[in-house]
């Protein structure tokens, strides 16, 4: 391996690792808050798309189409500079990422709910369970399990997209890297951004592995067919 051109710049990265780790903390927090918000809004939205009717269903569908059709960068700039929904960059970023994620999570759950065959719902009704009771007790548990792979995908997308919060100055991982680079250490650009990339990769990898584990752990013995 050829010697790295500027050995000392790795020392610069090492010396500022605490800042990068603090940024990583913000990234992780933002991811968790956004995914949670996306889940809390997206799951009911998916259920409304499958089981709802009338204006509520149409409103939910329209909101989804609009959110999925707008670039995240535009959403976050609009919320922060246009609508000033919050003076906190963290809160604004959470709302932007959370809403966008809700729009995608609703589609994951919608597909999963629809994939559980009608017959099971009918069988639950036939033993005297109410419609909501049957959906909750029979369809939802299976749909949640079937959502894990899609959810895994969504999780990594949100994690990486938290970096967009750089445009509203939130001190997440990429912003910290950028600040280090612009704070007079422009010679260390490669080292700084390689480190930032590596941290994103490690986060994504660990998350994926954890969700793989959850998928295995909660899978139904013998498979899904009844």
């Amino acid at each position: 391996m050829p010697p790295l051109p500027l050995q000392s710049d790795w020392a610069f990265v090492a010396g500022n690792l605490d800042l990068l780790l603090a940024g990583t903390g913000v990234t992780v927090g933002l991811t968790a808050a956004s995914i949670l918000l996306g889940f809390l809004l997206g799951f009911p939205a998916g259920a409304v798309e499958v089981y709802g009717r009338g204006p509520l269903k149409r409103a939910v569908e329209t909101a989804g189409v609009v959110l999925r059709g707008t670039p995240l960068l535009v959403i976050i700039i609009l919320l922060f500079f246009g609508l000033s929904v919050s003076s906190s960059a963290f809160v604004t970023a959470t709302i932007a990422l959370g809403l966008r994620s809700a729009a995608y999570q609703s589609q994951i759950f919608r597909g999963a709910l629809q994939s559980v065959d009608e017959g099971q719902l009918e069988a639950a009704r036939a033993i005297g369970m109410g419609r909501l009771q049957a959906i909750r007790g029979v369809v939802v548990p299976q749909a949640l399990r079937r959502s894990v792979p899609g959810f895994q995908n969504e999780f990594t997308i949100v994690l990486k997209d938290t970096s967009i919060a750089i445009v509203i100055g939130l001190g997440e991982l990429l912003t910290v890297g950028q600040n280090l680079y612009q704070g007079g250490q422009s010679t260390a650009a490669l080292e700084i951004f390689l480190t930032v990339s590596l941290i994103y990769f490690v986060l994504t990898f660990v998350t994926n592995r954890s969700l793989d584990y959850i998928d295995d752990h909660f899978s139904i013995p013998g498979g899904e067919r009844a």
Binding site: A123, I127, G128, M129, I220, G222, A226
Partner: protein, 248 residues
């Protein structure tokens, strides 16, 4: 005299323009096992589904134990507690074990506590010969075993009447016997059953009456000896002879 356990009185059902049931009437007493036969599309499934109101009728009345169950103020969930159903495609709850499939209704509908529901669940799994599979999930069971769980699930609610919609027609031929055997046992125990099935062995040996449905009408209704040996309607004879030939 006590009223019949089940009575259909001039029942009509249509889907849009298509008339599926056109004035179906019959009665069953407690302990009867009536087998419904008829060509594909004749309305057999529809008729069964009207009895537990998975499908709503357009005309006529249905009575269970003397009570009209098709008027607007009938609580369908109360009705369904009393009328069990066994499906062609089993429709087991895929995420639950055999035991949990049987106990779900006991817990959620009957409100039993876990221990009592399990005890009753085991009883019914034993009744269908599946005690050793209590902890298996549906995907780990054979078709015949699945259908026996389906029967146990319906039985556990202690219904007054059990509906079977072609319970063996999704099964490999070698698995039909175990399900028919369970159904024979139930018939012998005096459980009232309305069974759509072309399993002629079962019909001959266990049925009180055979109902031949064609094009939404009951063409012939009588004891198995009459229908099989001496059918009154030409249509019945034709259908049965076709059925026997296909079975060979």
């Amino acid at each position: 005299m006590s009223p019949p356990l089940l009575e259909l009185d001039d029942v009509y059902k249509s889907y849009g323009e298509e008339q599926v049931l056109s004035g179906v009437s019959f009665e069953m007493d407690a302990g009867d096992v009536d087998v419904v036969i008829g060509p594909s599309g004749s309305g057999k499934s529809t008729m069964l589904r009207c009895v537990n109101r998975l499908t709503e009728i357009n005309g006529g009345d249905i009575y269970l134990d003397g009570d009209c169950i098709t008027d607007a103020n009938t609580d369908v969930n109360e009705l369904r507690k009393q009328v069990g159903m066994v499906f062609q495609d089993f429709n087991l709850f895929a995420h639950l074990t055999a035991l949990e499939n049987v106990t779900l209704g006991l817990r959620k509908v009957r409100g039993m506590d876990k221990a009592a529901a399990q005890e009753k669940g085991y009883e019914h799994l034993e009744q269908v010969g599946l005690l050793d599979q209590a902890d298996s999930y549906p995907a780990e069971l054979s078709g015949g075993q699945k259908q026996r769980v389906g029967i146990a699930r319906a039985l556990a609610m202690d219904p007054k009447l059990l509906l079977f919609d072609e319970p063996t027609s999704a099964l490999d031929p070698e698995l039909v016997g175990e399900v028919v055997e369970v159904m024979r046992d139930l018939a012998a125990e005096g459980i009232t059953m309305l069974v759509v099935s072309h399993e002629m062995g079962f019909a001959r040996s266990a049925a009180s009456d055979i109902i031949f449905l064609d094009d939404g009408r009951i063409v012939e209704h009588g004891p198995p000896e009459q229908l099989f040996e001496n059918p009154q309607a030409a249509r019945t004879g034709e259908f049965l002879s076709r059925l026997t030939h296909e079975g060979e």
